[in-house]
């Protein structure tokens, strides 16, 4: 990854932007790089779509279901607790 410079020829390009998307979304870029990402996005439909795809990807991942704890397991774990409570030094 190269660091963007001020002159337009050295502005970040699409291929670099796709590697900066995560630090951008995590707000972990230094201010000048963040500004360069935003300048690029403002003028690039492809990268705007890419960023949108990344946001939707994160949503889709977050939607993966969370299996609930079964009652048998719960009883087993609570039994561990009762044993611990009886045997611990007080």
């Amino acid at each position: 990854m190269t660091t963007p410079h001020a002159s337009p020829e050295d502005e970040i390009r699409c291929r670099e932007l796709v590697e900066l998307v995560t630090p951008y979304l995590e707000d972990a870029l230094p201010p000048d790089e963040r500004a360069a990402v935003e300048r690029h996005l403002a003028g690039c439909d492809g990268c705007q779509t890419y960023l949108e795809q990344m946001r939707l990807t994160i949503r889709a991942i977050g939607h993966v279901s969370d299996e609930a704890i079964t009652s048998r397991t719960r009883d087993e774990v609570l039994a561990i607790f009762r044993t611990w409570r009886q045997t611990r030094p007080s």
Binding site: C14, R15, P23, C44, G46, C47, I58, A60, R74, F81
Partner: protein, 204 residues
């Protein structure tokens, strides 16, 4: 405070904690051990160590990350015993060093024309309706893709994007630097995105 309640032997407080975290612990353990039954054992073993270690709990970290760190420790030991896999520190190093690009380099213009170089040659298109993105078939693909990631990437994306942990919590539980955490998350998300793009562009 829940820790105080546990020390006093409050079963309801413990049951609440188990309901909050047990499923996550099992899922996290599955990143290291081959089957659900073993993952269950590791999770139960973790609870016992949580109880025994209550006096060592430091309020600097959240209870959740402290419990997860105990789980990861125990699951790693168990996973190594069962699979004789490469040491995990080497797995991390390999995952970080591989330098896989987020997007196939073929999709960008080559260096021939300096004005176009590294710009999209084949730009991404919108994913289309959200119903399709959240349909169970698409969800299956997301799960499959995550299952195929390297261990380190799988851990980070599971905790961050499925369990909703913060970056700092993941760094603490897995012993990662901020930068490494972010690189692993980036690679993992990029691969899921690529899989979704391929799938969603196939048919209407």
């Amino acid at each position: 405070m829940i820790v105080a309640a546990l020390k006093q032997g409050d079963e309801q407080a413990f049951a609440w904690l188990v309901d909050q975290h047990h499923a996550t612990l099992v899922r996290l353990a599955l990143r290291y051990v081959p089957d659900v039954a073993t993952a269950e054992e590791v999770a139960q073993d973790t609870w016992l160590h949580v109880l025994r270690g209550l006096d060592r709990f430091q309020f600097r970290s959240s209870l959740k990350t402290w419990i997860a760190a105990i789980l990861v420790n125990r699951a790693r030991t168990r996973g190594q015993r069962e699979r004789r896999s490469t040491p995990f520190s080497r797995a991390w190093a390999a995952a970080l060093a591989d330098g896989e690009p987020a997007v196939d380099p073929e999709r960008f213009f080559g260096p021939q024309d300096p004005a176009l170089a590294d710009r999209w040659a084949s730009a991404p298109r919108t994913f289309g309706p959200e119903e399709r993105l959240l349909a169970s078939e698409t969800q299956g693909l997301v799960q499959q893709t995550i299952a195929g990631l390297s261990l380190a990437q799988r851990e980070v994306i599971t905790l961050r994007d499925i369990e909703g942990w913060s970056a700092a919590q993941v760094c603490t539980a897995l012993g990662l630097s901020e930068t490494n955490q972010r690189v692993l998350l980036h690679r993992a998300r990029s691969k899921v995105r690529a899989a979704l793009e391929r799938y969603l562009s196939e048919q209407p």
